[in-house]
Amino acid sequence: MVSEEIWALIQIFLFPGFFFLFFLAFFTEWVDRKIVAKFQNRYGPLHVGPKGVLQPIADFIKLLSKEDITPRMADKVPFNLMPVLLLSLAITPLFCIPIVGSNALVSFEGDLIAIMFIMSLIAVLVFIGGWASTNRFSTIGSIRAGLQLFAYEIPMNLAMIGPAIAAGSLSISKIVDWQIHGFWNLFIQPVGFAVLTISLMAHLQRVPFDIPEAESEIVSGWIVEFSGKKLALIRLAKDFEFVLASALIVSLFLGGPYGPWYISPIIYLAKFFICVFILSNLRAAFARYRIDHLLAGAWKYLTPLALLQIFLIKVLGV
């Protein structure tokens, strides 16, 4: 009835919908920058808001007000559309991850496959955006993004299928349900957890795999021609992808939220920030790899390990 629709609207827009996700993305970026700064013996964001919490919001608003330049030779339509599409593709999968209780806002049989498809679409969009910029540096960046897609996509998809095979369902909510009544997948499939974390670092384009946007070689790679509002939307999309990656690891391997409706978000957020800590730690500890090292390493180590994990699931019957 009416109260049901109002309840649905509150859930979609406030919590755990748009409002909550926006704030979670900004807060996650602050946590990431602070952790990396603490590892490097410096302060990180400090002055905007208490302890610098509002710094990502200040960066976003500043970028929105800057001049928006389109190069003369660029392809206008893909160039202007790409940031908006990137942002919408990055937010959409987050509605399928359960945050309150073990049922997400949108859950159907096969939403795991839909999320995998959307993540591949994001990488193809990166390639189109860099290609449409018609700049030497962004062309090299987009070619590298395409090559990187070859390297990490198969191990990532195999590692995500592992928990689905064990739980016997392709819906993230059902996988979380299965873990609540059993063990966390982290203890049953540790190899899958490691493969998924490394492949997600490659998908997010973070050090050591930030090859398409390597700063010291090709001056920001495929992002180099975007400025002003488009750059603000691209950076916000990157934050949302980070939230999506941590949320996937939490739901598929760390058991997701459980308990009554007033405790489960807190447990979910605690596990979420543990994943953020692990990903930030990996970012601060390595140098940047070259694209041929990444391709060779991914096909020599990651894919066989992921196949081994699936084989073990079938053999051990878990």
Binding site: R136, I140, D210, E217, A284, A287, R290
Partner: protein, 392 residues
């Protein structure tokens, strides 16, 4: 598909403006063409209007990081023209400050190379440890860069007992950190993958292209001015010339980290055996006629100054040959066949200091003779070029 990619003059990988035009085919470099001239400041021309004592301060400001090496070289060349004998204590103090500058430069280089590889954490750690040595230099000379320590006839400030005590603590700390960086750089897999086998310079090519400094020592050539032609107090201190045989960027890294440890040993020996006495003798303002050359081992390689005097108190001609200028040809040879992603690492491997290297010499290609241009020739050439290019 052959790309033509410009590197610089503004680029995040380079600290100083220099332009390279690369021809890239499938992510490998096929051809490289360097262009200098963006930081030319006319130092050798200014020198014709200043007296010898003022030029000590100008020589310090040729480069910000190897500033003491240039000041030392200049003081030595003027003292040779004047036939002046400086006190023993001054020679030891000069040696100590030169070695401290070498330590400071190598820590800076380690941080910069880590940043080119994308390893921000090592960059922050190396520059944090560099603060220790900079504070020591600040305590001795009063400034963090461009220390006005060397002058014609000796040094300007003395090293006292409380300073020596504090220096010993810092030297112990720096030696421990240098050991740690050796461990990191020989064991960390991501650093090893990015530096081993990159930027190869064979010993035969290094000799033919006149490489100097750690670039040559990493190819196995034991070329070091401190051992070949000792100046200041190096004749009385025994030290090891560090060479490695790897010929790649990783060997250059190990050479520099080992040189930090050798410098610490030299400083400890010099502090313990410093003779007493005055630190400065008075030098006359006018220099008799003559020509002289002085060579010094700057942190980047061999530094050479040539001075010609004509009996007044202003020099006639001062020529500076910085080590980076000698390493540029080797750099162009190293960059052929290298992957696009490794270009910043190779460029950072020779420790480029472009500000030192800006000199103009015009050679007529057909007759192979050196032409000297005056100010009005330069002006006329510049105006003609702009007129032709913009069709005015």
């Amino acid at each position: 598909m052959t790309f033509e990619i410009p590197f610089g003059p503004q680029h995040p990988a380079l600290e100083e403006p220099i332009n390279f035009m690369f021809k890239i085919e499938e992510e490998r470099v096929v051809n490289v063409k360097p262009r200098l001239g963006y930081v030319h400041r006319g130092i050798e021309k200014i020198a014709e209007n200043r007296n010898y004592q003022q030029l000590v301060y100008l020589s310090e400001r040729i480069c910000g990081i190897c500033s003491f090496a240039h000041a030392l070289c200049y003081s030595q060349v003027v003292e040779e023209l004047l036939d002046l004998k400086i006190p023993e204590r001054a020679k030891f103090i000069r040696t100590i400050v030169a070695e401290m500058e070498r330590i400071q430069n190598h820590y800076l280089w380690l941080g910069l190379t880590a940043k080119e590889m994308g390893f921000e954490t090592l960059f922050m750690y190396a520059w944090r440890d560099r603060e220790t040595i900079i504070e020591m230099l600040d305590m001795i000379s009063g400034k963090r860069v461009n220390y006005g320590m060397s002058t014609i006839g000796g040094v300007r400030r003395d090293i006292t007992e409380p300073m020596i005590k504090r220096m010993e603590e810092s030297l112990n700390h720096l030696e421990a950190r240098a050991e740690y960086y050796t461990k990191v750089c020989t064991k960390d897999p991501s650093i090893l993958k990015r530096t081993v086998g990159i930027g190869i310079l064979r010993p035969r090519e290094a000799r033919a292209l006149c490489a100097v400094g750690p670039t040559a020592r990493a190819s196995g050539i034991p070329r070091d001015v401190r051992a070949d032609e000792p100046y200041a107090a190096y004749g009385e201190i025994s030290f090891k010339v560090v060479t490695y045989r790897g010929c790649d960027v990783a060997s250059r890294m190990y050479v520099r980290i080992d040189e930090i440890k050798e410098s610490i040993k030299i400083i400890r020996y010099a502090l313990k055996n410093m003779p007493e006495g005055p630190i400065r003798v008075k030098a006359p303002m006018r220099v008799p006629e003559g020509e002289a050359i002085s060579r010094v081992e700057a942190p980047r390689g061999e530094n050479l100054h040539f001075l010609k005097s004509n009996g007044t108190d202003k020099p006639e001609r001062w020529k500076i040959r910085a080590p980076t200028l000698a390493n540029l040809l080797s750099l162009c040879r190293m960059l052929m066949g290298v992957n696009l992603a490794d270009i910043p690492v190779v460029i950072a491997g020779i420790d480029p200091c472009i500000a030192c290297a800006e000199r103009i010499a015009l050679i007529d290609a057909k007759t192979k003779k050196l032409k000297v241009w005056e100010g009005k020739d330069l002006w006329r050439y510049a105006n003609e070029w702009y007129r032709k290019r913009y069709g005015l």
